[in-house]
Symmetry: C2
Subunit: 132 residues, 2 copies
């Protein structure tokens, strides 16, 4: 049942990205797959990292930001100071994400607004249409 390893093109097609993109993420230090000889072999954990990167991209994060966030997942934060520093970073990210959420909701509200006014304009246009 341990079929949780993937080739680069499997991941590429699953996430609809190119292999170049995946290798680029590795160049930038976001992924570190194993090697089977010369070939890359991606684990389930690598796959999860990739989903995090792509989710980050969808909400407008840079690769650097995704890398920072991924670093927060790793439980290598032994001593107290490091843990407190991490907590600070997490809190900061949360605040930023919440601001972004506000922006998104504003934008959505305005889309609703446009939609309504557009619907009404359409209704009026149909009422005043003589050729039917």
């Amino acid at each position: 049942m341990s079929e949780n390893s993937y080739t680069i093109s499997q991941l590429a097609s699953e996430f609809s990205i190119t292999t170049r993109t995946i290798r680029f993420y590795e160049e930038k230090g976001l992924l570190q797959p194993q090697r089977k000889g010369q070939q890359r072999l991606y684990s389930g954990a690598d796959r999860v990292r990739l989903t995090l990167i792509l989710r980050g991209k969808r909400i407008g994060m840079s690769l650097q930001e995704s890398q920072d966030i991924i670093a927060m997942y790793d439980p290598e934060h032994g001593n107290r100071e490091q843990l407190q520093q991490l907590l600070g970073q997490v809190e900061h990210r949360k605040l930023q994400l919440q601001e972004q959420l506000q922006d998104l909701q504003h934008m959505l509200a305005e889309m609703d607004d446009i939609q309504d006014r557009c619907q009404q304009a359409l209704t009026r246009a149909l009422e005043e249409e003589p050729q039917l």
Copy 2:
């Protein structure tokens, strides 16, 4: 009471961006301020456009996308076909924004998760700390 016009540096400092950035947005067709001689004069409407652009940026939109969205605000959609096409675009944007909202909420939930586990690790670290 008609003090709703701004110089380029007023807007720049208000939004903490450079004048270069504002001129760049004009180059790209996102702003079209009036001119008083050679100088640009920005209206309240221009200011609103700028806030929309910057909000767009914060949620990860390209300038092109912001431009598309700004175009939706203008009520120059006379006939029925154009209105229906606009409605389609609005609907499409809404769906995309909602997906983005999902991504954001996932990310936030995971930040909460990290925060919790980090807190617990810290608590344990403090309990086991001998030098106090």
